[in-house]
């Protein structure tokens, strides 16, 4: 057996290595030592320009603007750092602490520029450069800017330097100096917007003189994105909400394109970019950071009634002409439930127009919880709409088994009664409301609500919508009921008929702790709907407030010929 051969192979291999080492370390040793001495490589990052965001008309709603930063290279200021920073603070007119903190925060390695002052006025930056000459660098870097500040805060979100979360995201190809979207569209479409940072490797000698150019990777600009939103819609919606906390969503009921999505209270995303007032926003008890349209869920109250009506018709427990008598009161076992008025004999059209509770109590009891829940789920109220925004919440549709599991209690008939008017345990998000009310505008489809119109120049076309499998008749009956709620003089949303827009819709006053929530959800024009609307006022008092806000909204949109 080749013991000797093995040893020969090993000795041969080792000799090759020894010759290699001899060559590199002894023959070429001086050369490499020289290179090692001059081998101070500067790694310079060039932040990529992030894609801009436009509204559907091409109005710029998020862009990068250049800002001037002052940077130092640690290796060059070795030994004189302290005095340099003191003088820099004096010239720049800032606290020395800020410079020190920035230095520690941004330090990467001894050869890479460290930004010590950010967003310096251009003239001041030039002055600093004049005073400190080669000891400082002026770095022009892009900074995100949101020209409409409060208007688009929840939709757009904002960006953050990746270094904070770098460990988690580096596998997706981020560099630490890059910016990442942390909320909203900035986050959802980050991969298109972000582009790629450029890097240059420059060889310098110990005095910082450039000796050679080792290589570079060019930066790539991110893609521009166009949203389905309309800035004018957005502005009017924002104004119409006034001081209410709440949500306005305007959507195309056929395509799911969202024309306006406002959640109030709002915040200025620029604050997060500049690091100003961030604490204040985070601590605000009104929770401005929450996008109430998709992240918060609320009892729907009477706007849930169209769903129960469809359930009744489809399950054939009623027909459109079935009537129930409303005496203003309804007794079940020992408990008394009430209606907000005494409506007398009501059929389904009346009940939808008047939002009669007694009718729906009776209908609910005929349906029972299972079938109500079944139809609520068909309308997608227990699922995310999968809107193209992060952190969406889904609604809660209670069932017998849910109550047993979560509340550790049995389901009572009283729960069914509550559920049939959208009270009790049920909670849904405003975007879910916008989607389900659109189903009555588009002949029974659940559309996919979305904000993306196109990326760069390639339009984003989606046909994603789901048929609910409703009979045409059920839809027509409920639609007619919704029309009457506006058209009839005694309808709950009659105010809207003054606009002459042929609106159909449903109001809702959802009881909750504190003041009631106000809802309005509808669509128009009735014959050929082009818009669906969802207005929600958190603790707004009543549905009447929501109708008034809707009125303001649509009136202004009409005045400006936008609808």
């Amino acid at each position: 057996m080749g013991n000797r051969l093995t040893l020969r192979v090993i000795v041969g291999g080792f000799l090759i290595i020894v010759f290699g080492l001899f060559y590199f370390q002894i023959i070429r040793g001086d050369y490499y030592l020289k290179r090692a001495k001059s081998n101070y490589v500067k790694i310079i990052n060039f932040p990529s320009i992030r894609g801009s965001i436009f509204d559907r008309r091409g109005i710029l709603i998020a862009r990068d603007k250049p800002i001037f930063n002052i940077a130092v290279i640690p290796y060059q200021i070795k030994g004189k750092r302290k005095s340099l920073f003191e003088k820099l603070a004096e010239v720049a007119g800032v606290d020395k602490k800020i410079i020190t903190i920035n230095y520690q925060k941004n330090f990467q390695n001894v050869f890479s520029p460290v930004e010590v002052l950010t967003n310096v006025d251009k003239l001041k930056a030039l002055k600093i450069k004049e005073v400190f000459e080669d000891n400082v660098l002026i770095r022009i870097t892009p900074q995100r800017y949101y020209p409409f500040s409060y208007l688009y805060s929840h939709v757009l979100g904002y960006v953050k330097k990746a270094e904070v979360i770098y460990q988690d995201i580096k596998k997706y190809g981020y560099s630490p100096s890059q910016r990442v979207g942390v909320r909203g569209v900035e986050r959802f479409y980050d991969q298109f917007l972000r582009g790629e940072d450029g890097v240059e490797l420059i060889e310098v000698d110990s005095r910082g003189e450039v000796m050679g150019f080792l290589g570079k990777r060019s930066k790539k600009k991110g893609n521009d994105i166009y949203l389905t939103l309309d800035t004018r819609f957005q502005e009017i919606a924002y104004q119409s909400l006034g001081n209410f906390k709440g949500v306005i969503i305007v959507m195309d009921p056929h395509t799911g394109e969202i024309l306006s999505l406002v959640s109030k209270p709002s915040f200025d995303p620029n604050s997060f970019i500049e690091g100003k007032d961030v604490e204040y926003i985070l601590k605000d008890k009104r929770k401005p950071l929450i996008n109430r349209a998709i992240q918060a869920r609320y009892p729907p109250g009477s706007i849930f009634k169209p769903v129960v009506a469809v359930a009744g018709l489809e399950e054939k427990v009623i027909n459109p002409h079935t009537t129930f008598f409303c005496s203003g009161k309804f007794t079940l076992a020992d408990t008394e439930f009430s209606c907000w008025s005494r409506h007398g004999q009501e059929d389904l059209y009346d009940a939808l127009a008047h939002s009669c509770n007694i009718y729906f109590y009776n209908l609910g009891l005929r349906l029972k919880v299972e079938r109500i829940a079944k139809w609520a789920k068909i309308f997608g109220l227990d699922k995310k709409t999968r809107i193209d925004l992060p952190f969406e919440n889904k609604g809660l549709v209670p069932t017998r088994s849910w109550k047993r599991k979560v509340k550790k209690r049995g389901w009572y008939a009283g729960d069914t009664v509550n559920l049939s008017i959208g009270q009790g345990y049920i909670e849904i998000t405003p975007i879910e409301v916008a989607v389900f009310i659109s189903a009555f505008a588009n002949q029974g489809y659940l559309v996919w609500p979305h904000l993306l119109k196109k990326i760069k120049e390639s339009p984003f076309i989606t046909k994603r919508k789901l048929s609910l499998g409703l009979s045409k008749e059920s839809i027509e009956v409920v639609r007619e009921g919704l029309r009457q709620a506006v058209a009839r003089e005694d309808g709950t949303a009659h105010l809207l008929s003054l606009l002459g827009l042929d609106i159909a819709g449903k109001t809702g006053t959802a009881q909750t702790r504190g003041k009631a929530h106000g809802w309005f959800a509808g669509f128009f024009p009735y014959q050929n709907p082009k818009y669906s609307v969802c207005v929600f006022l958190e603790n707004g008092g009543s549905s009447y407030q929501a109708v008034k806000v809707t009125y303001q909204l649509l009136k202004k949109l009409k005045e400006e010929n936008l609808i």
């Binding site: 080792f14 370390q25 040793g29």
Partner: protein, 355 residues
């Protein structure tokens, strides 16, 4: 304890100390120690390694003869499993993550390859020697190498195949069989190019022309050469390597640990390191004289080749003489799995010597 074993133990102990000091140096930057946990882990693994060596030196090596096929199947299962359940690091799935420790099944594959080859080469067959002793083991090795290669871990896959040929050529089987396989293999190798990942192609191209991409793989080789070369005869001394201290070298605590050694201790230090490695290999081979059977002898030869290939390829790649394929320098690089299995193999060697 025989002399051979004593020499090996002393050499390994020297390597252990050297490993810790080099790691310390590689983690030491601008006067501060960073990522100290790497150092502590390495110390822990070395300690575990000695325990493993002690235990495996008590396990009769004949057991591996019987178990080799079973171990091979376990190995295949692990290699397939890691593809689906493994943790992804820089585009490769090579590790199982368990209780915060990473286990790399391809390290296990190397050991299994040695066992399975030792088994087939030492078994006596009456006929069909070419099929049973050459083609069958080659097929098995190629299968597991292919799975390793797909992880992708080109270095380990190549090592397994090299071990096959080197052990085969050192065996009592006719050399022409292996030469035939080798030539056939070389002829069809170009077909393998399309299986390579982009970064592997890049590395091979960079090997052929290091200046073609200074920012990528070529950058590492260039910096590695500067580090080694600038060490000159005597080196710059402990903690004084500028290449290392100024963070020019990526991965210097794992695959490029040799650059730290060569920069700090120079040509003489590197030579000393090679002598230590040589002593280990020579004494492993010396044990063949004490070995009772062919299976044992093949294990010894296989282990020696396995160690040798790691040393040769690793140092060769840091010198830019071989492509960067990603292999640890045995007993020196940071890494738990390779230490574990190398100590284990030494334990097997010791057991052979004791029997």
């Amino acid at each position: 304890m025989t002399r051979a074993r004593l020499v090996i133990v002393v050499c390994i102990a020297i390597l252990n100390i050297w490993s810790i000091s080099s790691l310390y140096s590689s983690l030491h930057q601008a006067g501060e120690l960073t990522n100290e946990y790497i150092l502590y882990r390495q110390i822990a693994w070395i300690t575990i390694g000695w325990v493993v060596l002690a235990i495996s030196s008590f396990i009769n090596y004949r057991l591996y003869f019987d178990l080799s096929l079973f171990l091979y199947i376990v190995d295949l299962a692990l290699l397939i499993g890691v593809k689906f359940l493994g943790k992804e690091v820089m585009g490769a799935r090579r590790w199982f993550s368990f209780l915060g420790m990473n286990f790399q099944p391809s390290e296990f594959s190397k050991v299994v390859t040695v066992f399975i080859l030792a088994r087939f080469f030492s078994q006596s067959f009456d006929k069909n020697i070419f099929v049973k002793k050459v083609l069958l083991p080659l097929g098995l090795v190629l299968l597991s190498s292919f799975l390793i290669f797909k992880q992708p871990d080109l270095g380990t896959a190549l090592i397994c195949i090299f071990v096959f040929f080197l052990m085969g050529l050192s065996s009592s089987i006719k050399k022409k069989y292996f030469v035939f396989c080798l030539i056939t293999g070389i002829l069809i190798t170009p077909l393998g190019w399309r299986f390579l990942k982009d970064y592997q192609k890049k590395r091979l191209l960079v090997f052929l022309n290091p200046n073609c991409e200074p920012l990528g793989a070529g950058y590492t080789i260039l910096q590695s050469k500067i580090a080694i070369g600038s060490g000159k005869i005597l080196g710059k001394g402990f903690l004084s390597g500028t290449q290392n201290q100024f963070n020019f070298l990526p991965e210097r605590h794992t695959d490029f640990i040799f650059t730290v050694v060569a920069e700090e201790w120079g040509f003489l230090g590197s030579l000393f390191l090679l002598i230590i490695y040589y002593l280990i290999l020579k004494n492993i081979l010396a044990i063949t004289k004490e070995a009772k059977d062919d299976f044992a002898r093949y294990i010894l030869i296989g282990t020696a080749y396995l160690f040798f290939l790691h040393i040769f390829i690793n140092i060769g790649m840091t010198l830019g003489m071989l492509p960067v394929v990603g292999l640890p320098l045995i007993f020196l690089s940071y890494g738990g799995t390779h230490l574990f299995f190398n100590f284990f193999l030494l334990g097997v060697v010791f057991n052979i010597s004791r029997q």
